[in-house]
Symmetry: D2
Subunit: 250 residues, 4 copies
Amino acid sequence: MSKLRVAVLGARGRIGSEAVRAVEAADDMELVAALGRGDKLETLVENDTQVVVELTHPASVMGNLDYCVRHGIHAVVGTTGWTEDRLAQLRTSLAAAPQAGVLIAPNFSIGAVLTMRFAQQAARFFESVEVVELHHPNKADAPSGTATRTAQLIAEARAQAGCAPQPDATATALDGARGADVDGVPVHSVRLRGLLAHQEVLLGGEGETLTIRHDSLHHSSFMPGILLGVRRVVSTPGLTVGLENFLDLG
Amino acid sequence: MSKLRVAVLGARGRIGSEAVRAVEAADDMELVAALGRGDKLETLVENDTQVVVELTHPASVMGNLDYCVRHGIHAVVGTTGWTEDRLAQLRTSLAAAPQAGVLIAPNFSIGAVLTMRFAQQAARFFESVEVVELHHPNKADAPSGTATRTAQLIAEARAQAGCAPQPDATATALDGARGADVDGVPVHSVRLRGLLAHQEVLLGGEGETLTIRHDSLHHSSFMPGILLGVRRVVSTPGLTVGLENFLDLG
Amino acid sequence: MSKLRVAVLGARGRIGSEAVRAVEAADDMELVAALGRGDKLETLVENDTQVVVELTHPASVMGNLDYCVRHGIHAVVGTTGWTEDRLAQLRTSLAAAPQAGVLIAPNFSIGAVLTMRFAQQAARFFESVEVVELHHPNKADAPSGTATRTAQLIAEARAQAGCAPQPDATATALDGARGADVDGVPVHSVRLRGLLAHQEVLLGGEGETLTIRHDSLHHSSFMPGILLGVRRVVSTPGLTVGLENFLDLG
Amino acid sequence: MSKLRVAVLGARGRIGSEAVRAVEAADDMELVAALGRGDKLETLVENDTQVVVELTHPASVMGNLDYCVRHGIHAVVGTTGWTEDRLAQLRTSLAAAPQAGVLIAPNFSIGAVLTMRFAQQAARFFESVEVVELHHPNKADAPSGTATRTAQLIAEARAQAGCAPQPDATATALDGARGADVDGVPVHSVRLRGLLAHQEVLLGGEGETLTIRHDSLHHSSFMPGILLGVRRVVSTPGLTVGLENFLDLG
């Protein structure tokens, strides 16, 4: 079987350089280009690139994807900053290149994506759901974006299923004890030296609890998701948003 | 909306009496009969029973279900002892009563069912998977039936996805340190006073881990699953094996 | 060896009836009286009681202990409502009966007492400490009294050791995300159907974390601590406050 | 206050170079020498070294310590390979230099040391105790040395307290399910990609469990223990084995 011809854009960044190594280490891929700031996109066509891993910057991602789509190169995109406008613009480009596939994923950690998905699926079966996220103490925001997103997905799933509000008899509380309220789901943020990025979804019903916990110990955790994206995007024309769409979760 | 007319068979057993209370407490159900050993099945028809919750004994379940199916009464079955022969016999009865629905579930704990399902779905995305189950020290078997079943489902999912064997560089080990081998998945059994029934599925990949934990604290945890089965079986003709089929997990 | 002659006061209450069973089941004890409301204290002397387990009510505990101390009967006390005044009054009684011993303990769960003690001992070695307590959703106060007490002990230990304030770069936070502030120690309260009473102390330093977790699943967890108190109070004259003093923790 | 004058031996090794950075970053210390293979010990005296951090090799540690003790330089030693003979030889040197202090510690992680200590203290109060250790899958031995040591300390504490054997009704078991038996304490070894070094001690009694968990995420976790050793060894003449002796745990 011939190998997938893969290029990395943003190859000298922290995640980009990790992606270069991951592509090189994958048996079914060949790294054909590793471009950084100032390198020419023409290299991609010259090297018959099939898939680009786009890990650059909001300022350059639109131009890079425009080039890729026009030349029939698929793309797996980790760069952030997506608005409805930008997505619409990308969809227009793709309409003119029906074979090209683009995957945009806000999170390439398969563990994080599965945690959100499972939380969403389980949420309607339990009376109570809370989220505890734990990070290193240098983090500036609380709760984390992932925890907020997870709580929102849980709240949506419960609303759709017509779940009752969560039981809570708290009558006397210290300020903050019951966490932040994200659409009715309490979210608690722990900041502890020695930790990296961790999240726990606790679900409780009569006589039982279910806990889904994700521990992220290194940004190398994004690589399996990026490689999976590369393998799947070549047979998925058009725009796909979210790695969960490639996980065949039914 | 008219209430579902529900009867419990085996109503004086430990789980049965709990089911009686759960049906009585459900807003959308009416308990129309609670039968124990020696009570007549005719009561079911006399009371216009729509759904039976069958929590008796392998020796009586076939007769009870035969009566229900012949009279168009749906059934949710927690009694164990199902063989291929018995299932075939039940399917034959059901073929002659195309409206009747029967749900047989080896486990009515929604948390346990979701744990198995999520483990199965996640298994192929991680290099390593192990199961730790923890129970009270009066338990006679190790691993638990649920843990063995979970490990088998994990192993099947990995085989289907063509996963490589799990990495393990262990060269020197004390007997038993690495757990029991269930189809290539290590399973560890902890027995601790104070515990009831708990299970953890640990999945690990490059830079991240995902943990799915189920804590069962009381057999009342079976009730939400039984009630959900009652609500769904009335619109699901034929035989359904496994509560997961009613959880709309996609 | 002759058995300890033990009586239970408040023997018809929830904890009291459990204590009756526990004393009966202990090889080294004999239950010589089980008194409830209205029963006469004289029974204690008539039955040569050596130790009383006092599980009554703030309104009766002072009278009961006065009787015991005057008659040289030791006491293990679970009844609450102790003020400085009451303790002073009890110390005065004891001064006149130099052989009698009284143990008052706010918590007889050995696991809870050890959790507090270990948290207190470990607190000064880590940059970060937070407390997460998890209870059933019918609980009226948040945080739990045990969690608040644990956080206070942690704060005292850190103040004594001259620890710096905990690192926390949070700049943008939803209200409540970072928990309640108890003397500088964040405390988070989770309320989840299916849970009973659980507490986690998380300590984090450079490159490592230490977690101490207590799970309380039944009020029978108080019995080992009560029995240990009975065995030790007979050789510990005077007033002892706190079960930790009988745990020989150094 | 004048700063402690500290030198690192083995300064170019993985842990040694980390120790150099840690000493430099400590407000109350001054790094006066950082010696590697081939560098002369005389540098220590020339720079008025007060404390040496010895992180070299079993082949050189005895010579290095002999030099230090003879010149009244205190030492904190992480190098392994200590036998009874070697300890006796070191004690003899120290007898002739009554002011010099030497701390030898098999583990400088404060979290690991506290975990062992707390497990040892708690072990006699619970009917059941098991150890679960979890490491990356490249580890060659199972159980880990720390887990084996922890189980031995637990077993010793239980033997001294006259505890009964652990309850375990297991009648039918798969090979290995109940873990390795270390002096009567079951030890379970999990090997999972994404993990580093983790250990859990589970203690269970009537109605409650206590869990002590240590997560080691980076070898920088040794630094706080090494610095604490440096600060304390200067006022602790003679030989001290084990960091726990400097933790004032009572």
